[in-house]
């Protein structure tokens, strides 16, 4: 089909008119504004009104890999942070680690500790914010609560204004510390090959110790809140365990030498849907294990396990789909490296029936456990006397060639890979971001929620929230927690017949009311 022919087709999402009964239909959900940029869902129904196919589309591409070419490698931490203004620290750090590899240089101990302290501060801030502002409302306020209350304001109403203020103040203090070390909290500047730009003073260290202590208390309080609100409610536990939100895929996450979760450094470990180790590899080997599939209907690429080949959007051992982010990290590891988080980790698997846990909504719980780990790790590093050592740079001496840097971003494994000329000018850059790793499973989750909910042509208002919840557990790397201050995911849902005519429109307004027109 030529382009010209394609362009003459009517745009189904905009065609008015009434549809015929018994015809195949299309449902468009567009826009979903909690994604960074835009996300779109297309659901196609068969003649019986059941879901034939659902598509999760990402209509976004900026081409960082291309315009990285020609830039000095040392500019990558600052340039690639602009991929995402909410998790810039993850890109900044993956790029910085790629520079270490590029120049084959090992940073001094204090520099490595400052990097990890900075990173743990970021993870604490990001996870806390996600829990209270984005993911938490579904549980703290309730999945069946009126949408108008299912937001951070509802959370505050439920847990108290002083807690709301505590969340805002905690985030501000963490961001202030990030600016102290990184210059800017958004788009920091500390990363250089072989270390960091700025050393930590004894005074800085004292500040970190104070905030870290408060962060641990805050994380414990958050976990307690989760237990009281969610785990003591059998309906919520049932929802978490429901088949609607379950996918049996592989899981990928970074682990330390003792197979425990690590955000900053380690090996990449993959476990099977049954929980056995499938592979464990160094970040530099990622091309042997991971590959990306292109679909013509989305700008995002779909990552899969390379040795298994692309087997489509499917569950199970034969499928090559894998999953990243908090749940995947807990599944892929043997435990947590800090005591309170380890305790919570054990309780998590004991409650949900052992490893691995396949319930997508369990990501919310896993995230709180990681929040506790990040805060505890922050505390450990802030207490380390070596962290204020003034030697924070090892100057590169080797000629640059190629470097791979991997971190665990809040929402999953993030890979930066650069090749340069002998002057350290980028010739090729390759990036696999968290959401690409999860893209296939997100698409499957959306389809499964749609299938579970839409039968016999019945498109109920409930579709909106169920689809929303299928998303929300992963959402953030696009949708980035802080984007979503008040408000629930706004949705517009159009039902089309086969000819592309609109037969019904459902709209959820800001006040949470559903309107049918």
């Amino acid at each position: 089909m030529s382009n010209a022919e394609k362009m003459t087709e009517p745009n189904p999402a905009q065609s008015p008119g009434a549809g015929a009964a018994g015809a195949r239909r299309r449902i468009t959900i567009d826009p979903i504004t909690r994604l960074e940029g835009h996300g779109k869902i297309e659901v196609f129904l068969d003649e019986q009104g059941n879901v034939e196919r659902a598509y999760f589309q990402v209509p976004e591409l900026r081409g960082f890999e291309k315009f990285a070419e020609g830039r000095p490698a040392e500019d990558m931490p600052q340039i690639t942070s602009r991929i995402c203004g909410v998790c810039p620290t993850a890109h900044h750090m993956a790029a910085t680690k790629a520079l270490d590899g590029l120049y084959r240089v090992t940073p001094p101990p204090a520099a490595l500790k400052i990097r990890e302290l900075f990173y743990s501060t970021f993870m604490t801030e990001d996870h806390a914010l996600h829990f209270y502002f984005l993911g938490g409302p579904d549980f703290i306020v309730g999945p069946q609560a009126p949408a108008a209350e299912r937001n951070v304001l509802g959370v505050i109403a439920r847990v108290g204004v002083e807690v709301g203020q505590k969340v805002i103040a905690m985030r501000r203090r963490l961001r202030e510390l990030m600016a102290l070390v990184g210059g800017k909290a958004a788009h920091p500047v500390l990363g250089l090959p072989g270390g960091v730009a700025k050393r930590l003073t004894a005074e800085d260290q004292k500040q970190f110790q104070q905030v870290a202590q408060d962060a641990v208390d805050f994380a414990r309080f958050t976990l307690e809140t989760f237990k009281n609100v969610v785990l003591k409610n059998s309906l919520y536990v049932e929802l978490i365990r429901s088949e609607m939100f379950t996918h049996r895929t592989y899981y990928l996450g970074m682990v330390d030498a003792n197979q425990r979760v690590n955000f900053y450094d380690g090996s990449l470990r993959v476990v099977t849907p049954e929980g056995q180790e499938y592979a464990k590899f160094r970040p530099q080997q990622y091309l042997e294990y991971l590959a990306e599939h292109v679909e013509p209907w989305s700008y995002i690429k779909f990552a899969y396990l390379k040795p298994l080949g692309w087997q489509g959007f499917a569950d199970g051992r034969e499928s090559s789909v894998y999953c990243v982010a908090p749940l995947a990290r807990l599944n892929a590891a043997d435990g947590m490296a800090t005591p309170l988080a380890q305790e919570a980790y054990e309780k998590f698997f004991a409650t949900l029936g052992g490893k691995p846990v396949h319930h997508t909504l369990a990501n919310h719980w896993a995230r709180v456990i990681e929040l506790l780990y990040a805060a505890e790790r922050m505390q450990q590093l802030a207490a380390d006397p070596e962290i204020i050592d003034p030697n924070v740079r090892t100057l590169p001496t080797a000629a640059p060639r190629e470097g791979v840097g991997v971190v665990e971003a809040p929402r999953g494994t993030l890979i930066h890979h650069y090749q340069t000329d002998e002057k350290g000018i980028i010739q090729k850059a390759n990036l696999i971001v968290a959401t690409q790793n999860n893209a296939a499973r997100i698409a499957m989750s959306v389809e499964k929620a749609a299938r579970g909910l839409i039968t016999g042509g019945n498109v109920s208002e409930g579709v909106l929230n169920m689809v929303e919840m299928a998303f929300r557990a992963y959402d953030p790397c696009h949708g980035c927690a802080t984007h979503s201050l008040p408000g629930s995911m706004p949705l517009l849902l159009r039902v089309h017949d086969r000819a592309g005519s609109v037969v019904a429109t459902l709209r959820r307004d800001f006040d949470g009311k559903i309107q049918r027109t």
């Binding site: 591409l61 995402c84 103040a169 210059g183």
Partner: protein, 330 residues
């Protein structure tokens, strides 16, 4: 209604990273003051108002629309026109809207070049079929559409008329608050004003007293090659710091992080082309009158375009080989 209506404000994002939205959240406790003073009628990232809600408003109903991000798709262009029509004041918020920003570096390449790198040459991409995303595609009879990309990234004022600019990547909470206060005060500055101090960053840099009276260099160093002193003028240490050419307002955040200014606040009011100004500021400290020697020194800066035009390529006087997209009426 006894209570007078609060002024209406809209936020929207185009080709951006979300960092400008973070700037709003970074107001922390002060965000509540902003919410108390204005009525936010459109903010897709946070609130459930739709494009159709904006379309239904009378023209000029919004006091101020803050638009961040560059323009690179038809949809973004349409939204820019819509918000222009509905707003008394349109503010280009952040470096991408003001100057094109880092995503504007894509103008060094083409849409085809980006597609080839991302979907074909990427070493992790398995795509022997040469599949590319298509704006309209039929999958087993299911027709699916994606928005169309321009070949060229534009700044906001290359697409619509802009009243004010808030600089920065991202703007700082302080700059944002001041901009909102200025707009609410009713005493509007002249059109085209950049709502930030109009002097060079060096003036507010904590290192300014260490800058030599007459600063000259015989070579530039890269930040990767040198351990930088945490107190001294960065330019005097030989790294390219764009403080002399860059508008103040951020309070020298990057130099406080012991790294040079990269120019995200853009130029002062007296400068048309930021990169040219930055280049001349840096060139003026090269100590030589010998052409070959000058060239040698200049060549120690490995990526002039990416260094001097990092945030401002789309807004620069440098033209691309290809024409800009055709402007559309609202």
């Amino acid at each position: 209604m006894s209570e007078p209506a609060k002024p209406k404000v809209a936020f929207y994002w185009c080709a951006s990273c979300g960092g400008c939205e973070e700037a709003v959240v970074d107001l922390a406790e002060k965000v509540l003051d902003v919410v108390a003073a204005v009525d936010i009628v459109f903010w897709p990232v946070a609130l459930d108002f739709k494009r159709q809600d904006v379309e239904a408003m009378p023209d000029g109903a919004i006091l101020a629309a803050f638009v961040n991000g560059a323009i690179r798709t038809t949809e973004q262009e349409e939204m820019a026109h819509l918000l222009r029509k509905k707003s008394k004041v349109l503010v280009a918020f952040g470096a991408c809207a003001q100057l094109g920003g880092i995503p504007g570096l894509a103008n060094l390449s083409s849409r085809e070049g980006i597609f080839q790198t991302v979907y074909s040459e990427s070493p992790s991409t398995a795509n022997t079929q040469g599949t590319l995303p298509e704006t309209l595609y039929k999958d087993n009879g299911h027709s699916l559409s994606l928005p169309e990309f321009f070949d060229t990234v534009c700044s906001l004022d290359q697409v619509v008329d802009v009243d004010y600019y808030v600089p920065g990547c991202p703007p700082t909470p302080k700059i944002l608050l001041q901009a909102v206060e200025t707009l609410l005060s009713g005493k509007l500055p002249p059109k085209g004003t950049v709502l930030a101090p109009d002097h060079a960053l060096c003036d507010e840099c904590p290192r300014k007293d260490t800058r030599p009276e007459k600063l000259t260099l015989t070579a530039f160093k890269r930040a990767s090659e040198v351990v930088l002193d945490q107190e001294k003028c960065l330019l005097a240490q030989g790294v390219v710091c764009l403080g002399p050419a860059t508008r103040a307002g951020c309070e020298a955040l990057c130099p406080r992080g012991n790294m040079p200014c990269t120019g995200c606040f853009g130029p002062s009011s007296r400068v048309r082309d930021f990169g040219a100004k930055a280049l001349s500021a840096v060139a003026s400290i090269i100590e030589s009158n010998d052409e070959a020697e000058i060239e040698r020194i200049a060549n120690t800066i490995p990526d002039p375009v990416g260094t001097f035009y990092r945030y401002s390529l789309p807004a620069s006087l440098l033209r691309r080989k290809k024409a800009r997209p055709v402007r559309r009426a609202a």
